[in-house]
């Protein structure tokens, strides 16, 4: 298993696999972005097929979180395009991007701890100006996550880390996202809780939400997903169906290097 880490691993252009026929919700083309003097993303192209779960994995510093920040408008790219349903998101404000249907659940816990679970979920709909619509959405969200309805009156700060994650998902669903961005949802969670959180991701997807997931637990993330992308050093190095990527022996070399000294 030796992949020269500096030479490009053959990548498929558009993601190949069983569901190539699905249309793409999001198309990213040759994206270059970074902070200060350096580029973190050095020409990233990928597509997120409608109705699927696309999982981006890669070692530390690969650019996964930067990719998320660029899609949601927190970071403006230097080059390239991010196109949602034919509309270019580059240059739009985060609020406009939210209105267009891209909702992100951040890596760190972000609930208001002293507010109730219900209040936190409702806040996800703060850009909805219609109270009736908010109530209707809240009911729909509780249908996807019946367990959360049971916690509705509790303060968010009293929930476990895994439960808080579920409430953050519920909050994001309030806008019925066209594309849901999940940035390392397993961060800081015990392996047992991981299963609950991943089941919740499946539930949201089964209810029709297209998901782009960045995950540090590469194996669990890829197994969960219909499509997989491996980033390394600001570039896409492997892509395919979740299973294809999971079973590709080159993935190990992308994490651990493989061409520095002769084997």
């Amino acid at each position: 298993m030796t992949v020269p880490a500096n030479s490009p691993v053959p990548t498929t252009g558009p993601i190949q696999g069983a569901s190539t026929t699905a249309r793409s919700v999001l198309k990213i083309d040759d994206l270059v972005a970074g902070y200060g003097g350096g580029d973190v993303l050095r020409g990233v192209s990928l597509e997120v097929p409608e109705g699927g779960i696309t999982c981006v994995v890669g070692p530390n510093g690969a650019g996964k979180s930067t990719l998320m920040a660029t899609i949601s408008g927190l970071l403006r790219p230097r080059l390239g395009s991010v196109v949602l349903d034919g509309k270019d998101l580059v240059g739009q404000s985060t609020r406009q991007i939210l209105r267009l249907g891209v909702v992100q659940v951040p890596q760190n816990h972000s609930l208001f701890r002293d507010m109730t679970v219900r209040e936190n979920v409702e806040l996800g709909g703060y850009i909805l100006s219609d109270r009736a619509l908010t109530a209707q959405r809240l009911a729909a969200v509780f249908e996807v996550f019946p367990q959360i309805a049971g916690w509705a009156g509790q303060k968010a700060g009293s929930l476990s880390g895994g439960q808080q994650r579920l409430v953050e998902f519920a909050r994001a669903l309030m806008l019925e996202p066209r594309l849901l961005l999940l940035d390392e949802p397993s961060m800081g969670l015990a392996p047992k809780i991981l299963r609950t959180v991943f089941d919740a991701i499946r539930q949201m997807n089964a209810a029709g939400t297209t998901i782009l997931l960045v995950e540090q637990n590469a194996r669990a993330g890829l197994r969960l997903s219909t499509h997989g992308v491996v980033m390394e050093n600001g570039r896409v190095r492997l892509s395919g169906t979740g299973r294809e990527v999971l079973e590709n022996p080159e993935i190990g070399a992308l994490y651990l290097g493989g061409a520095v000294s002769p084997g």
Binding site: G38, G61, P191, A220, R223, Y255, L256, S261
Partner: protein, 252 residues
Amino acid sequence: MSVLLRTEGVHKSYGGVRALDTCTIEVGEGTVAGLIGPNGSGKTTLFNVITGYAKADAGQVYLADRRITNIAPDKVFALGIGRTFQLTRIFPSLTVMENMLVASQHSRSGARKRAMEQLEFVGIAGYHASLAGTLSYGQRKLLELAYVLVADPTIVLLDEPAGGVNLSLVNQIAARIRELNAAGKTFLIVEHNMEFVMGLCHQVTVLDSGTVVATGPPDIVRTDRRVLDAYLGEDIEEAEEDSGEADDGASQ
């Protein structure tokens, strides 16, 4: 080859979180050793325990044959263990030279000359009169290296020397480490940049959840199944299927 630095069964918990669990590592005298592992695996905590910034709950730390467990950071430094930090700790409003003189700790006449030699060695002597806060991130890393070297430690612990540093400076840092090692200096390096670690280190130790899962030369470690498991994560579906087996899948 004799062992210069050794931790033996070190435990360290923060609240309910076990950061280090029976952690035993060895660094051979005159080697460049790497310490790698996924985020949160305990690398920096182990550095903190070795250098006295965190107290071990159990276990021992030895420098050569001397037990140095839980002694104060300045005493650890005086015994010959120098250390840099993941986020550089320099004095931004002092000049580069002043930073170096703080590190040398006394104002004997040779201190300035020696400081300048170290700055020349790492390649930032031209900035000796600049405020340290005006250096780029990579140059600060070089200053920290010079700063640690001025005390002539027996072993140098580097926490992510290549992190956030551009490629030409990464190569410069690697070249300096090689030179120092050729002259006999021992290193223990935490680093996420695998090219850097695998290209530089003689031995690599891999931590996962505070425990050593593998140790050996880079080429062996890189293909070790337990190391891949640590980096790629536990597959929760498989974990469930395997949960009834006690032999960890080792037997056929």
